[in-house]
Amino acid sequence: MGKKSKRAEKLNLPMTIESSEGSERLEVRRTAKLYIGGAFPRSESGRSREVQLAKGGVANIAGGSRKDLREAVRVARIAAEPWAARTAMVRGQILYRVAELMEGRAAQFRDDLINHGASKSDAAAEVSAAIDRMVWYAGWPDKLSAVLGGTNPVASSHFVFTLPEPTGVIATIAPEASPLLGLVSRLGGILAGGNVAIVLASESAPLPAVTLAETLAVSDVPAGVVNIITARRAELLPHLVRHADIDGYDLWGCPDELLLEAEQGAAEHVARVARRPHGVRDRADAFDGERGERIDGITAFLEMKTVWHPIGS
């Protein structure tokens, strides 16, 4: 054991929490809760499960239930209209603010990834990329209508324009193998388009999603705009995809064996669906670099509205 700093001596703190010495300070563990409507409830089901951490120890992860899901949809629906009504510039600034706060929590995000088995360098790279990805999305809201919409030169005396509008409440099955960068890449698209989100976090590596929830809670993202549920995906998915008040599903992280049921459920209420492109696998590097800078996660949940008006008196 090395020499303690003066301040550490004054506070009577052990130098490291990993120390095996008897005088060591006990770590205050985080209870990883759900994030619904801006609050951090435990699952109403009372369930939690242990996730083994790579460096030893376990994390208790809330086991979200069908009822938690329903609650998330309820608050998301309330949040949808005011979020869509924010100006595009403000939505961009709010997303940028999320990136700022993620930067401040970079160490915790790195720890989360290392706890789920990432190497130090991979974790550092993923956190940096995730923050940059959020900045990439922060620039999109006020450019979508220029890139995707426009005026239409119809062959009659009318002024006709087409604008993208958000679809509404979108549920996303977050990528499993890219628990932070993948999550940010898919969630960023939903928010940039003006939609609100219900996220089913990575099942094997949920901690970055929990930290992101804690980041969002102190950001300017209004309560209910993002709701994050940790749960057994196979258990919740059949209910999630049939919830008639969800307007779209980002199934990027949906395991192949659940895809059929997920798409059938979405079809029953004509919900929009985005999915992993053909040939792309749910891998840790799936969102690296330009591969992750795609607007398909935005465009899948935009409705193009065309407005006609006569020209003349």
């Binding site: 890139v147 059929l260 029953e268 004509v270 929009r272 409705e303 407005v307 006609w308």
Partner: protein
């Protein structure tokens, strides 16, 4: 209308079982002249002005169009397509089977791999320009055929359906060699074989909306027309021949809905486009779930046409009439719910009734006809059933006094007032000339009521106040909003729905996106 049917029509009628059994057989299939509440002696009465059908030769029997050739259906069975205005059989249509669908997909797949994907995009463009030109050249033939097969007034098929179909091919032709401008920063690629299923209300126009962007994007097509209106699609096969389009690039398979399902669920079909009812759209979406196919759906609607108290009333009356009686109301984006502000409701409804009394219902081939025949007996029954529900649920019905032809499937234009939002006629798509009136007091109430539907295809706003137009247009959950106009279409303007009216757009650059995958 010619009073003598062609002998082959008569022969067909002897040998085939009639789908309809409404009327006793008449010696000659004449359609009564279009009639309206105006007495024949009125100075406003019109003399009949029938379009000639001489330009059209309808063959006794049509096969499938597969790999550039006409083929008999593998099952050997046929169905009959009828003229809804006379209930006369027009032709025998091949009843395509799953084996025929398979053969068509094989041809489309081969054409995609060996020919179409290897062609320079500029050459693809030129084929589409050719098709557009031939459609323009043969426009009267198409219009007359469309009206005979679908029952829609010749005025509409001549002035709307056919010119718009040609315009769609023209518009998308120009995209074929400019695809990289449609997906900035990405590489556009075709899907391969596209499966398309279209409805009976705009048979040729829906074909154009589907085939033009698909081919421009570099895909090949297997298309199934509606079983009651296959003739213009089969005539289009002849256009493909004239344009010397490579074999297999466009394949047309007629047949029942199950044949359509065989097409869309086939693993070689990479992208599916469907226009039709929401229930069939859901069946298709479920049927292809998990297959990784692209899908666009253009489904039902229950559009609100909102008339505010400051609207130019006579223009609004015209717009409301056009909104619900265009194509007999058999339009997915029809303005079937009239939302009128309470302060002007009485005055507005009086003018609307006056205007409805002047509508001319009858022979679709008459150039003065406003409302033609309902497409099929089955659709007549659906409309009748929903109208009966409106009466039994307590809404007040009004119909103009007019004589309907004694033969053919005609439905009187119908106005309901005192309609509650819970009534079936206010919630369900009727797909007929039936308008349900609901009143409102405030702008907020109008928006609330307009959005109170599972659908979200279109809406109309009538007011002289520009800022209110933009406020209401942005609050309405619908893909197309017409302000002080209604039922306008253009190849440059995207069309498609919110909510249960489907997803994806047709028309414009946005309509091209569905037919491309970009990497």
């Amino acid at each position: 209308m010619p009073s003598d049917q062609s002998p082959k029509g008569a022969a067909l009628r002897r040998t085939t079982a009639r789908a309809a059994s409404v009327t006793t057989p008449a010696p000659a299939a004449t359609v009564a002249p279009a009639s309206s509440g105006l007495a024949g002696s009125s100075p406003w009465a019109y003399a009949p002005a029938p379009e000639s059908r001489e330009i059209v030769t309808i063959r006794q029997r049509y096969g499938l169009f597969i790999d550039g050739k006409e083929r008999a259906p593998s099952g050997g069975e046929v169905t009959i397509t009828y003229n809804p205005a006379t209930e006369e059989p027009l032709a025998e249509i091949a009843k395509g089977t799953p084996a025929d669908a398979d053969r068509a997909i094989e041809a489309a797949d081969r054409a995609y791999r060996k020919v179409w994907s290897k062609l320079h995009p500029r050459e693809r463009a030129k084929y589409l320009y050719r098709i557009s030109r031939i459609l323009q050249e043969r426009s009267r033939e198409f219009a007359v055929t469309e009206t005979m097969d679908s029952g829609k007034p010749i005025r509409e098929s001549r002035d709307v359906d056919v010119p718009l179909a040609a315009a769609h091919f023209w518009y998308y032709a120009g995209w074929a060699d400019k695809l990289e401008y449609a997906v900035p920063g990405r590489r556009p690629e075709a899907h391969g074989v596209v499966g398309q299923v279209i409805p009976w209300n705009f048979p040729l126009l829906m074909l154009a909306w589907k085939i033009a962007p698909a081919l421009a994007a570099g895909n090949t097509v297997v298309l199934k027309p509606a079983s009651t209106t296959p003739l213009t699609a089969l005539l289009f096969a002849d256009v493909c021949r004239q344009a010397e389009l490579p074999d297999g690039v466009v394949n047309i398979v007629t047949g029942p809905g199950s044949t359509g399902m065989s097409i869309v669920t086939d693993p070689r079909v990479a992208k599916v486009a469907f226009t039709g009812s929401t229930s069939v759209g859901v069946t298709i979406a479920k049927g292809i779930a998990g297959q990784g196919k692209g899908l666009t759906l253009e489904l039902g609607g229950k559009a609100a046409n909102i008339v505010f108290e400051d609207a130019a009333l006579d223009q609004a009356v015209e717009g409301v009439v056009n909104g619900i009686f265009f194509n007999q109301g058999e339009v997915c984006c029809a303005g079937s719910r009239l939302l009128v502000q309470e302060s002007i409701a009485e005055e507005f409804l009086a003018r609307l009734r006056d205007r409805m009394s002047m509508l001319r219902i009858g022979d679709p081939m008459d150039k003065n006809t406003d409302i033609g025949a309902i497409n099929s007996k089955a659709q007549m029954e659906t409309i009748g059933e929903l109208v009966a529900s409106g009466v039994s649920e307590g809404a007040q019905i009004w119909q103009p006094a007019c004589d309907l032809p004694t033969r053919g499937w005609f439905f009187r234009p119908t106005l309901f007032t005192n309609v509650a939002q819970s009534h079936r006629i206010a919630r369900e798509e009727i797909f007929g000339p039936v308008l349900a009136t609901i009143t409102f007091r405030t702008v907020a109430e109008a928006i609330e009521k307009a959005n109170n539907t599972a659908y979200g295809l279109s809406a109309g706003i009538w007011t002289e106040k520009g800022s209110r137009i933009l406020q209401v247009a942005s609050a309405i959950k619908a893909g197309v909003v017409w302000a002080n106009t209604f039922n306008r279409f253009d190849p440059t303007a995207p069309f498609g729905g919110y909510k249960e009216s489907g997803y994806g757009r047709e028309g414009g650059m946005q309509g091209l996106h569905a037919y491309l995958r970009s990497s």
